[in-house]
């Protein structure tokens, strides 16, 4: 992961908030935690303010009243974890992607967190899943040489769509977004020679 994960915790209990912070710190995850002890304004406003990728909310603060909104486009991509104090009733927690029982032991909670973060792809199980594949390296080489997506597709006999998927994965894995940034990476890793680059790099 290349960016700090923003986590918003909505929980009244200070002790639970601190406990969550301690557990999260052991996950090998770079995160920033913002805290709201209750929803004064709307949930929507909190999301706009903190722009979290993950929300961990007390079940009572984010009750099933709000359920109907879950499918709204404003929440696509957002992961919501519900804090519960007992084994939850299915229909009270269906608006959460995951639940976390704070009455559980430390090791159980650590496992739960681990499972959740692996499932949503914020923590990887194997360490090497972030290195680029050979195919991706081929694409990266051609990007650095200044070829367009269409040209790359032709050269490698794959569809433009596939090229775009490769590029997305390259950017995600390396944490480099721009063509000139990828070019620098390609040179540093000897995927291309600086002599091969035609004149000025474009972008």
């Amino acid at each position: 992961m290349n960016e700090v994960v923003k986590i918003l915790v909505i929980e009244k209990s200070y002790i639970i908030r601190e406990g969550l912070k301690a557990l999260l710190s052991q996950m090998g995850l770079a995160f920033r935690m913002d805290e709201a002890d209750c929803i004064k304004d709307s949930f929507q406003k909190l999301l706009e303010k903190y722009e979290p990728q993950v929300v961990i909310a007390n079940q009572l603060q984010l009750s099933e009243k709000w359920h109907g909104n879950r499918n709204s486009t404003a929440f696509t991509g957002l992961i919501i974890i519900g804090i519960v104090h007992s084994i939850p009733d299915e229909n009270q927690t269906s608006h959460f992607d995951f639940t976390l029982n704070v009455m559980n032991s430390k090791s159980a909670l650590t496992n739960d967190f681990q499972d959740i973060f692996v499932k949503i792809g914020l923590v990887s199980e194997e360490n090497d899943s972030e290195t680029i594949s050979e195919r991706e390296a081929d694409v990266l080489r051609l990007v650095a040489l200044g070829l367009t997506n269409n040209e790359i597709a032709e050269r490698l006999f794959i569809s433009v769509h596939t090229v775009m998927t490769h590029r997305k994965n390259i950017t995600r894995k390396l944490g480099i977004k721009t063509v000139s940034g990828l070019t620098v990476y390609a040179i540093l890793n000897k995927l291309v020679e600086s002599g091969e680059l035609k004149g000025g790099r474009k972008e």
């Binding site: 944490g175 977004k177 000139s180 540093l188 600086s194």
Partner: protein
Amino acid sequence: MLIHKDMKMADVIHLNHHLLHVINRFGIQLGFGEKSVKQVCELHQVPLPFFLEIVNTFHDSTYFPVESMLQFKASELIEYLHQTHQYYLDFRIPEIENYIRRLTNDNSFDEEIKVLLLDFFRQYTHELTIHINKEEQRVYPYVLALEHYLQDNKLEKELVEQLKAYSIHEYEEDHDDVESKLFDLKNILIKYIPQPKDSRILNLILHEIFELEKDLNNHAHIEDLILVPIVEKMEQDFLTISNQDKTL
């Protein structure tokens, strides 16, 4: 804890020395003595609420009081944004470039890598300069003219036509982010540069980039969330007035 008007300015710096650069943008320099924030602002004729809100958004990254910031005067805001641009171009950017030049001094890196980084950083500087020039030459003058018109209500037909020809929506739509290359540079330096014998200069560069990035983010937030709505409101007032006046 937010910065409060009755705190001593010297204590503000003790609390958070990163704020010095921001405070300079208001024309306020070191040598505060025992003066409070309020007194220093009065001395330099800086509007106190404006100063406090801006400084506090830097001090506490979760603090961004849109409602109260929408009360700012457009010309004040633009003066601040302008000073910020100057700071980037005249100070921060050359400083980073200097550090990059120094990378080969201790033989930590090959000349080739230095050239590569320098070249990349210059492309970034070029992008940033274009972005800033567009704002300084097109957008800010427009906003200032609009404010001027609304204050004086001078009904010069030519000016009114000029103002009608542009809208802040144009700016809003193509106001691109200038952080992508910086983001890339961070990862290149942190992850992909060959390990140097000594990374002290690299550390300095990274530190500068993180600071610049944070500053740019705050700056863009102010432009998008404060300047644009303030100007939108002014445009509405302008339309109302200019439509009422049949002579135009």
